[in-house]
């Protein structure tokens, strides 16, 4: 299971649809100050379910939508898609089946018509793929409109935020996981309080 591609459109300074492929073992992102490199990291955190505007360096969540520039009008919506390769495995995985809590999701991820969504995530049905979706490629998308509506999609089907989190359970992937080190935060683990350090280790347990 490999992160193969990132597509941004209308997200922060990426006004136009922009594609990043990640085919190499080490991919570098370079460019002068202020050109949009850290916005790429924010995009990945956002599509993985980040809900705090502050941790995306904004004032409000709507700040992730392209705000306009000297030559362009502000954007109407932001969309980010992550594409993962999800090939069949030779040896099936033994997955814990988590209890699915039945408390209602917060409204932000309700389907625009308000219907509840039958998750594409078949945790126990799909044992021969790392991501529990029966497809060779898994695309996770998040969208946000200027009027505040937002939605998550997995392979084109609307899902809840909980489905996205469940999709990545136990993979080490998450919007605040130890595998995303933000600018200026590399020594956060050293500066943290001993008890906070514990919770980072618990996440990896």
């Amino acid at each position: 299971m490999r992160l193969s591609r990132l597509t941004l459109s209308g997200f922060k300074s990426f006004a136009d649809p922009t594609d990043f492929r990640f085919d190499a073992p080490i991919t570098g992102i370079v460019g002068p100050n202020g050109c949009g490199k850290s916005n790429v990291v924010d995009a990945i955190k956002w599509v993985l379910g980040e809900r705090s505007a502050k941790s995306l360096r904004g004032g409000a969540m709507l700040d992730v939508i392209f705000a306009g520039s000297a030559s362009r009008k502000p954007g109407g919506h932001a969309s980010v898609t992550l594409t993962f390769d999800n090939p069949r495995l030779a040896v099936p995985i033994d997955r814990d089946i988590p209890e699915i809590s039945t408390e209602a999701e917060p409204a932000e991820t309700m389907d625009v018509e308000g219907a509840s969504i039958d998750g594409p995530v078949q945790r126990d049905a799909v044992r021969d793929r790392l991501l529990p979706v029966d497809a060779d490629e898994v695309q996770v998308e998040r969208r946000l409109w200027a009027d505040g509506r937002s939605e998550y999609l997995v392979n084109g089907r609307k899902v809840r935020l909980r489905d996205v989190r469940e999709l990545f359970l136990d993979t080490g992937i998450g919007n605040d996981a130890y595998c995303i080190i933000e600018q200026g935060k590399v020594d956060a683990m050293l500066r943290a309080h001993p008890v906070e350090r514990r919770s980072i280790l618990e996440e990896a347990a």
Binding site: R2, S71, G184, D187, L190, H193, P194, L201
Partner: protein
């Protein structure tokens, strides 16, 4: 659960401070350790105790990690991160200018340390350091040729000027 945390803690501790651990690999020697902080009653509680870090670069005797230099702190943090990564690899890892405080010799050690992880994960590294760029297999340039609007271009290391600017010839 307690059992799982203990197993992870022991594994990370060894990957961090062990003889072959990431600390000694990044510093070329020295010693480091992780330990649980006893509770008020003096006992260690596997479910509650916080985690303390001890790090001694070769030939030095810092009492607390706050005495380490900016670059030493970065290298210690990267060593710990890699130790966690070794005991629970995730498919990808994104590093946004983690090399900002490093001198060239440490940038070299940092990029070399990524090698052993490439069979299970891949890295996305944002950097201004030429040496780190040279360690990348592929480079994406981001430019704002149109002010305020980001665009991606494919670049080779030799097309990135000393000033991090992407030279004209790469901007198709």
């Amino acid at each position: 659960s307690r059992r799982r945390f203990k197993a992870t803690f022991e594994a990370v501790r060894d990957q961090f401070g062990g003889q072959e651990g990431m600390f000694r690999r990044l510093f070329g020697g020295g010693s480091a350790d992780l330990f649980l902080v006893p509770m008020e009653n003096g006992e260690i509680d596997w479910l509650e105790s916080g985690v303390e870090i001890r790090a001694k670069p070769p030939g030095k005797e810092p009492r607390v990690i706050s005495q380490l230099s900016g670059g030493e702190k970065t290298m210690t943090a990267v060593a710990l991160l890699m130790a966690i990564f070794r005991s629970k690899p995730s498919p990808f890892c994104i590093l946004d200018e983690v090399d900002a405080a490093l001198d060239e010799a440490n940038v070299e050690r940092f990029t070399k340390a990524l090698g052993p992880f490439l069979d299970r994960s891949h890295f996305i590294v944002i950097t201004h350091h030429k040496r780190t760029m040279q360690a990348c297999h592929e480079l994406h340039g981001v430019t704002m040729a149109e002010r305020g609007v980001s665009r991606r271009v494919t670049v080779r290391v030799d097309q990135v000027g000393a000033d991090g600017r992407i030279r004209e010839d790469a901007l198709e």
